[in-house]
Symmetry: C2
Subunit: 375 residues, 2 copies
């Protein structure tokens, strides 16, 4: 193992870079470490333990145990996740959405899926509102292709569905000072007044189901940990507004294909997009950063390094359902019995098969999009 200097970790709702140290993040964000007990309870209600639970994708949480208990008491519970429509969807985005489908079935939960087209427009100089709205509908196809229940999934765009949202967001905004928002999100005075307002829109969704149901409904948010500042703010004000604090379950980032960092839309070659032609995606895999050695001889002798290998990470997080097969692959890699070329080829094939199937579902989603939109 090399001892290269670590790149400074940055994890905010707008930037994830550097070498991610999850232990440090858990301390820094003041969240609770995931427990075996919670994982087992989720598995019990689902009838099986999801790959993402078996592999420790959900590293931390806040009040997920309480959310499960509310369900066990016979109360209705809900889910909330979302997407900032600034480009195409990549495989990293899909992880929590697949997990939402799993939780939706296990807990008979409605999922409120927020498309933050206002946020992306306000943040990015290069995007018009028309563009982020168009991307909203494109990205919604990906959400639907994950197999969510049309009866229990409510996809909405901040701009297109604002009539359902504005009043709740106003109530939130009245409880958050500029000072607080500045401290949490690092605003400075040259930020525009729209982006200063936006946290109220993201927080609002935590209370949307309660408003629609006419009674307090526990809300669990499966999302990557970089969104945590929003929930910290929301939890601070929830009870003042008469709502439950939202619970969270935090996912790790799916690594990009290049060395370090998460899969990022802003580095197109580091990510596999759901809209990539399968062959092209396969080629991206073949060029991925691995844990391989400089020469074949060296690798046969010393073995590969799955712990720093992005190809291995793809198997781990998404493309090897079978635990025994995963362990076998890891061992063979470490022993130098399997080389990177072969390993990448197998993954490329699986990615191609996955994308071919997903893209078919994605096209079919166009026909049923309306059924999934918030009414």
């Amino acid at each position: 193992m090399t001892d290269e200097p670590k790149k400074e970790m940055v994890v905010t709702p707008w930037e994830v870079s550097g070498d991610i140290d999850y232990d440090k993040l858990i301390d820094q964000f003041g969240v609770q470490r995931m427990t075996k007990e919670i994982e087992e309870k989720i598995a019990k209600h689902a009838g099986f333990k999801h790959l993402q639970l078996r592999r420790g994708v959900y590293l931390s949480h806040r009040d997920t145990d309480w959310w499960i208990k509310e369900y066990e008491k016979g109360n209705k519970v809900g889910l909330y996740t979302g997407r900032g429509p600034s480009g195409h969807v990549h495989l990293g985005h899909l992880l929590p959405w697949f997990f939402c489908k799993y939780l939706q079935e296990a807990f008979d939960a409605d999922l409120y899926f927020q498309m933050t087209d206002d946020e992306k427009f306000l943040q990015r100089d290069d995007l018009t509102l028309e563009e982020t709205i168009a991307l909203t509908y494109e990205n919604a196809l990906d959400v639907i292709a994950c197999g969510l229940d049309p009866e229990k999934t409510h996809i909405f765009s901040d701009t297109e569905h604002i009539g359902h949202l504005y009043k709740i967001a106003l109530n939130v905004s009245k409880k958050v000072t500029y000072n607080t928002a500045k401290a949490i999100f690092g605003f400075n005075d040259s930020n525009n007044i729209g982006i200063v307002w936006y946290p109220a829109m993201q927080a609002m969704t935590c209370f949307l189901e309660s408003e629609r149901e006419g009674k307090n409904t526990p809300c669990l948010i499966p999302a990557a940990i970089d969104q945590d500042p929003y929930w910290r703010m929301t939890r601070d004000i929830a009870e003042k507004l008469g709502y439950y604090k939202p619970a969270q379950i935090h996912a790790k980032f799916l690594p990009g294909l290049a060395e370090g960092g998460k899969m990022s839309s802003s580095q197109p070659d580091s990510a596999i997009f759901t809209t990539d032609p399968p062959k092209k995606a396969g080629k991206k895999v073949m060029k991925a950063f691995t844990g391989g050695r400089d020469t074949v001889e060296e690798q046969c002798e010393l073995g590969g390094r799955p712990e720093i290998c992005n190809v291995y990470a793809y198997y781990y997080f998404m493309f090897e359902e079978n635990d025994a097969a995963l362990v076998e692959r890891e061992m063979k890699c470490k022993n130098g019995e399997i080389l990177c070329g072969e390993c990448k080829k197998t993954l490329a094939k699986r990615v191609e098969v996955f994308l071919t199937d997903f893209q078919k579902k994605r096209e079919e989603a166009r026909e049923v999009l309306d059924q999934y939109l918030l009414k």
Copy 2:
């Protein structure tokens, strides 16, 4: 005339107090002084010169001449005014609305009437959103009772009609930094993030008709001068967004019944509300601050002071249509030929007659409210 120390003038969108010095306001706000030429042109298109124009109620403007020219070229022109629904409507509020009716007819203009229920909710700790929304509909009855054309009047509530408004407001908000808003509105960091966002909502209406018409439509805003900071901000960004700068025509404040300041909802006895029972309103008039002397003898000898008299101001701005009769009343007052009691009694009677008629129209407005709402 007494030489009492003047009370410091404060004129912002949230506070109007002290002795109002309109010359100073015109300089301070950097607006243009009203001209005879503009007044005559408006009168020409209307077919008569409105009392408010004859009496100099509109003391200043920005680009009203340009707005008239656009109309004369055969272009569609529009009007925008509004109301912050934080309580009942008083007579001071009605002045620009009556003037809007006059302009609507003269220039065949659509009027966009904004009810800023979000603003009032965000500003006032004592108001819930439900309350400001309820007041919106109550206040809309007053607007309609002014006799506006249902075909050409579009009353909307920020919260109830947000679906028509949010996208335009987002475009505005992206062009306004917190720094700019802070400088214009005097925000400080302990303001809530909703009120920081709100200027985008008020500015947005300047562009609403252009968006709905699908072409740039000159917009004129008749309103009291305290709202000017919003239009200054809006004019700065209008062209960046591809719109015309909005034009303004600024009204003086109708004085309250108590000494100094404008008629204010926050001092109930200083204002005559449209919902006051007529007899009660008459009694308020009888208790009004006048320009009378301490004793009858003194007044007969020295005469009254209409220049500081609120009762005279009510005749001047609203309750004496006939110019010759107004001059006669002024002269008789100055000569000590008419005393305050008699003068107040006549005004009280006129106010009672006005309110009786207005309240009838206001009740009838309930039946036609829907016709006036933005669709």
